[in-house]
Amino acid sequence: MAVTVSPESDVVASPVQRGLKEGFYAGAISLGLFVLFIGLKTGQNISNELVVTTRWGLLAGVVVATAVGRFLYVAYGQPFMANQKIADVATGLLPGSVASRFFQVPWFIAAVIAAVLLFVFNNSLAGWVGAEPAGYLQFLRALAIIYVLASVIYYFRAFIHANFTKLGIAALVLYPILVVAVLSLNAWSIAGGLQGSLKWVDNFGIQILIYVMLAWGLNIVVGLAGLLDLGYVAFYALGAYAYALLATHFGLSFWILLPAAGAMAALWGVLLGFPVLRLRGDYLAIVTLAFGEIIRLVLINWREVTNGSAGISGIPKVSFFGLMSFNVSDSNYIAKVLHIAQSGAYYKIFLYYLILGLCLLTAFVTIRLRRLPVGRAWEALREDEIACRSLGINTTTTKLTAFATGAMFGGFAGSFFAARQGFVSPESFVFLESAIILAIVVLGGMGSLVGIAVAAMVMIGGTEALRELDFLKQIFGPDFTPELYRMLLFGMAMVIVMLWKPRGFVGSREPTAFLKERRAVSSSFTKEGHG
């Protein structure tokens, strides 16, 4: 193959030259893209006529920002990142990473001092510098605190990595105590006061943990057994309605109905499993999707039992194992039994620990099952069904147990959900929920419990946090509603994660069989999005 090399191409363009060129192209492309989107705006005037307003200034701003951004990235960002990967010839060491330059002891000390000072003089700040700068100082304090915390995590990263599971569980156990203690002491905070702190336990803690549990349950079906289930929310709905109906009509306790709801969902898991035994992949996905919709439509249309779209309300609360109740009117109300002040906080915190316990149960069962014959058979089934059969594994029962186990955890989560909300309606069990749960499993890394938990925190916590971003109104004007952009950001985040980490956050898979010692298996061992 003859290649003619022109003399010019021998000269490699310097990053700055390339940056100028690519910046120019990026600017031109964005001009072409946005000239109509941003440059022109149509609206109506008072007499209902269509008017076109031009926004050349804004368009120029966007184009220049794109061009400059591309230039900086190509000219300085890319060479910098490439340098980070080149080891020093003399020492053989990689250069100091961005993080080690960012987290340095003097800065850490400065940040601690700044945070402490700003805390101490918090109340007198407004008097000294005026109200508006004081607001900025509070923002600065928040940054300082975040920096201090991030530095601590950075310095102890090896320890954290080694004890991740223990630390994670400890953090989850202590979370409501810390949140309530810190936030209820600081009435000044945007999320301050006891009520504000309970929001963090409820909207973030409980909400995220419900999704962690659902995703861990679905992980058994999708991540371990490799059966793509797009109708998982049906089991969640079954558990929720099982609790709602049995508790409201027969007054049975949560502690009896929790296993009953799980068993009910598992039974339906088996019933769904039978017709789809021969299906795999896309075909299975379509049938399970239909199953999810069937359950939802039945819930809407079977009015005599489910009360249709109006849903079921007045679902009884969970009791503390029948010993204490969380209803103020009951004689064994917790405040009366323990002689403490009346508060709605006890129930929220109790629910938090309840769902945390259920999550840990799910994780424990999953970890144990993976080491048992049935769990190994699930994973082998995901890999190669025909090989499984020829090794004497009954693929029928293997699939059914996977469906049933996954469905059971969905049912548990559902009955918890009904008890927490006090109200269920078919609207909570739409296809989007199935999609979100599946997205969490895929983003987290199929089969990885830690990865899935992190993904649930990011996805659910992230979308919840976007509700809190009121300060964005300062930047984008009072019309800006961050909630409306939640799903856009959610989708963008998913695309970005899948581009950078096609195997999900945690791509490594822990093997279950060892010759002598345990060895971590690199990420190339797990399922991945491409190829």
């Binding site: 082998a380 059969r389 093997p511």
Partner: protein
């Protein structure tokens, strides 16, 4: 025990839809033998292998293993009769480690003889021991074939079915694998039924052989007889020994 019929295939016809792939095949494998089935592409060798395992199922005829009719049994029940298979294309579990693959092979006994049998497999194929923690899919073709045979052996089979163990492997590796099969047969008396395109190697290894053409068994005899047979030589062996 040597000499009694272990696997008896009588008049088996198998169809893919309306296309007949096996045309009334009679094959038997005696206890302690290595039997080779040779033939060209599309002769129906692999179909016979799969029919023994019940997928696809024989439309007529019977398959008897150790006196039990297994023609209508589900695949996993057939495997529980202690017939193990290294299937066409090896079909190891690509994302599971070598160790986990072997563990899956021992599912039948719920790992009762696991430690002992793993050692045996590693003695037979030392290469696998070097690769224990490696993912099955990252092994070379020869190692995957060893793993596939090793996994089949973990079930302590009475009969080992091998579908083209030499497919796509370098001659040196093929020799290693054939040596291992011979070794297993000699020391443990393992009965082996093997399908091969590498007619020369297979017939040299085998006690007896069958030749299959278009879904029919056209010739049978001892390995030596078939190797010496001019028709076999013309059809499968001329043009260079593999």
């Amino acid at each position: 025990m040597a000499g009694t019929t272990l696997l008896d295939i009588k008049g088996v016809q198998t169809y893919y839809g309306n296309i007949r792939a096996l045309n009334g095949v009679d094959v038997h494998v005696n206890q302690g033998e290595i039997v080779a089935l040779i033939g060209a592409n599309g002769a129906g060798k692999s179909t016979l292998m799969m029919t023994i395992f019940g997928a696809p199922r024989a439309r007529s005829g019977s398959i008897t293993f150790a006196g039990t009719d297994i023609t209508q049994m589900p695949t996993h029940e057939i495997a529980r009769m202690r017939i193990a298979q290294s299937p066409e294309g090896r079909r190891i579990f690509p994302r599971m480690t070598v160790m986990e693959n072997l563990q899956m092979g021992a599912s039948l006994d719920n790992l009762k003889h696991y430690d002992e049998d793993v050692e045996k497999v590693f003695t037979l194929f030392p290469r696998l021991k070097e690769r224990v923690a490696q993912r099955g899919g990252t092994l070379s073709g020869g190692e995957q074939q060893m793993l596939s045979i090793g996994r089949a052996l973990m079930a302590r089979p009475k009969l080992l079915l091998l579908d083209e163990p030499s497919l796509g492997l370098a001659p040196l590796i093929v020799k290693q694998i054939f040596d291992a099969i011979r070794e297993l047969n000699r020391t443990q008396g393992l009965t082996v039924f093997l399908v091969e395109q590498n007619a020369f190697g297979a017939l040299k290894l085998a006690t007896r052989g069958y030749v299959m053409v278009n879904g029919n068994v056209t010739m049978s005899g001892t390995g030596k007889e078939l190797l010496a047979n001019p028709e076999v030589r013309a059809a499968y062996l001329e043009g260079g020994h593999h």
